[in-house]
């Protein structure tokens, strides 16, 4: 796979010689979000709070993961009116979630002209075997992954951005750290492998050999790697950025905290200045209570186990 390959969605140039929906254009937006914070919001008011705090994008959904976890039942794509309401009040990119394998939900989100679709394990999966064929869309997709093989399978299906799954809605960063370390550790090991070993890597990762070769050559994923799942404090953001994440998604961590505007702003600053402990001190001081956290071993359902 090369970076100038076009997606399978219609990509003929228009009358002005312009081509939309290409791989480069899809990955390009992810590149522009690097070093930023993408915040979960459930209404227009929260979207404004997020933009005012310096979010690079918002994720429009009906319930943050902590509430999805509490309420149980089937979690689905948001009501189009909710997505439109959020699009109408912010000027930054608006993303929205579709269920794993639910390409009809993704079609609706594309028709709503969202800027990115998150094929997300936070919602209840619609297909227990197949993910969405993301090459068929002009809108770019982000997908979660817990390890390098899963990341490369999603990229082979057309994902233009990968995020760690972490364990959404817990306020506990331990799973996101595990996923990042697994993905980045395997990339480092793969980059030092010899040509014969790469076939064994492809087999072990259950990933296409051409993508395995590309990672071995470049020592990086072919698309940006962001972190999601359990980030609740400025220091959490600094931790995952130092581990190698290129941007962070914050779900419940902002609007389940004691002071959402301040938490949002503090996490934005911490993500931009992730190697500067002085700034972390400044933005963390007197911030108030973070969202209540959950011990992973007490969970009934691990969302990260969804996806194949």
């Amino acid at each position: 796979m090369t970076t100038d390959a076009s997606s399978r969605a219609d990509s003929t140039p228009d009358d002005h010689g312009r081509t939309t929906g290409t791989l480069r254009v899809k990955r390009g937006l992810a590149e522009m979000l690097r070093g930023g914070v993408i915040m979960d919001v459930v209404n227009a008011h929260q979207a404004k709070v997020a933009e005012d705090a310096g979010a690079v994008a918002v994720m429009a959904l009906e319930r943050v993961p902590a509430d999805i976890r509490r309420d149980g039942g089937v979690a689905r794509m948001s009501d189009p009116a909710l997505v439109e309401g959020i699009q109408s009040v912010v000027t930054i990119p608006v993303m929205a979630k579709a269920r794993i394998g639910h390409f009809a939900e993704a079609q609706v989100l594309e028709a709503l002209r969202v800027d990115y679709v998150d094929e997300s394990e936070v919602l209840t999966p619609a297909d227990e075997e197949h993910h969405i064929d993301k090459w068929a869309f002009r809108v770019p997709f982000v997908c979660g992954a817990t390890n390098l093989g899963e990341a490369l399978r999603r990229i082979s299906e057309g994902a233009a951005m990968i995020r760690s799954k972490g364990e959404a809605g817990t306020g506990n960063v331990v799973e996101a750290v595990r996923h990042l370390r697994t993905i980045l550790g395997d990339i480092r090991a793969l980059a030092t492998s010899d040509s014969a070993e790469r076939y064994a890597w492809a087999k072990r990762l259950q990933a296409p050999i051409d993508l395995v070769e590309e990672v071995a050559r470049t020592a990086a994923l072919p698309v940006p790697l962001f972190c999601a799942g359990g980030i609740a404090t400025p220091s959490d953001a600094a931790l995952v950025m130092q581990l190698g994440a290129e941007a962070v998604f914050v779900g419940s961590g902002i609007f389940k905290s004691a002071d959402p505007p301040r938490f949002a702003r503090a996490i934005v600053e911490a993500t931009a200045h992730f190697r500067d402990p002085e700034i972390l001190v400044k933005v963390s001081r007197g911030l108030g209570d973070a969202m209540p956290g959950v011990e992973i071993s007490t969970l009934g359902t691990k969302l990260a186990d969804r996806g194949w």
Binding site: P13, H16, G17, R18, T19, T20, G21, T22, R24, V25, G28, L29, E31, M32, L33, R34, G35, G36, E51, G54, A55, V56, A57, T91, I92, P93, E110, R113, V114, D115, Y116, R138, V139, P140, V268, E269, A272, H273, D276
Partner: protein, 220 residues
């Protein structure tokens, strides 16, 4: 402006330039500038400006960058250096930050005012309208630039003393997308993403010229 005037410097080695590294596609700019032979400092605070002879403002989210420029206390130091003639290159969000006026931006959006332009954000629409196309840029030798426009801005007002080097059609009107004034060059697309070094070469030529003038002055 003659074609020769826009060529890159003979050699960029010895030049030290900064890339604003608060958010956005910093890595691509750093990689391109290093490939052209100069030393690159990532700029996150006023102290990082001390050693650099030019500044690149990357693509990213302009509202976020505007806020982070404020909290990093970089707005005044950058304005001061730009007023004093420090060369600059801005792509996409970087173009918005360097302009004098942001149309339909946030009311509290900070601008550096280094090039007299009125810029409209997200002028082509949402991500589905992002595109790539070949673009003829005045004064550049060789093939058209392959331009990648990501939720890109366009120029709606061009001030005095600003040269328009390339424009695109938007809803029947011709809108500037590459402009230059003095030693400030801006593009609403991402040459750092498509890997075309020619605008970065122009920037480095400006840096070399300004540095040479300074050195001559100091030795006089």
């Amino acid at each position: 402006m003659s074609a020769g005037a826009l060529r890159g410097p003979e050699t960029a080695s010895g030049l030290r330039v900064g890339v604003l590294a608060l958010q956005g596609d910093v890595r691509e700019h750093v990689a391109m500038l290093e490939a052209l032979g100069c030393t690159v400092d990532e700029v996150r605070g006023p102290a990082d400006l001390a050693g650099v002879a030019g500044i690149v403002l990357p693509g990213g989210e302009s509202t976020t960058l505007s806020m982070l420029l404020g909290s990093a206390e970089l707005v005044e130091p950058l304005r001061e250096r730009l007023r004093a003639g420090m060369p600059a290159l801005g792509t996409c969000a970087g173009m918005i930050l360097l302009a004098t006026e942001v149309l339909d931006g946030r009311s509290d959006q900070r601008v550096l005012g280094a090039i007299d332009l009125g810029v409209r954000r997200n002028a082509f629409g949402r991500q589905l309208d992002s595109f790539e196309a070949d673009l003829a840029v005045a004064g550049l030798d060789g093939a058209p630039m392959h331009a990648v426009f990501i939720r890109a801005p366009v120029v709606e007002r061009v001030g005095a003393g600003v040269d328009v080097l390339a424009s695109v059609d938007l809803e029947g009107a011709s809108r500037p997308v590459v402009c230059r004034s003095g030693t400030v060059t801006v593009a609403s697309f991402h040459p750092e993403v498509s890997g075309d070094p020619r605008l970065h070469e122009i920037f480095l030529r400006d840096v070399a010229a300004v540095s040479a003038t300074r050195t001559a002055y100091q030795h006089a």
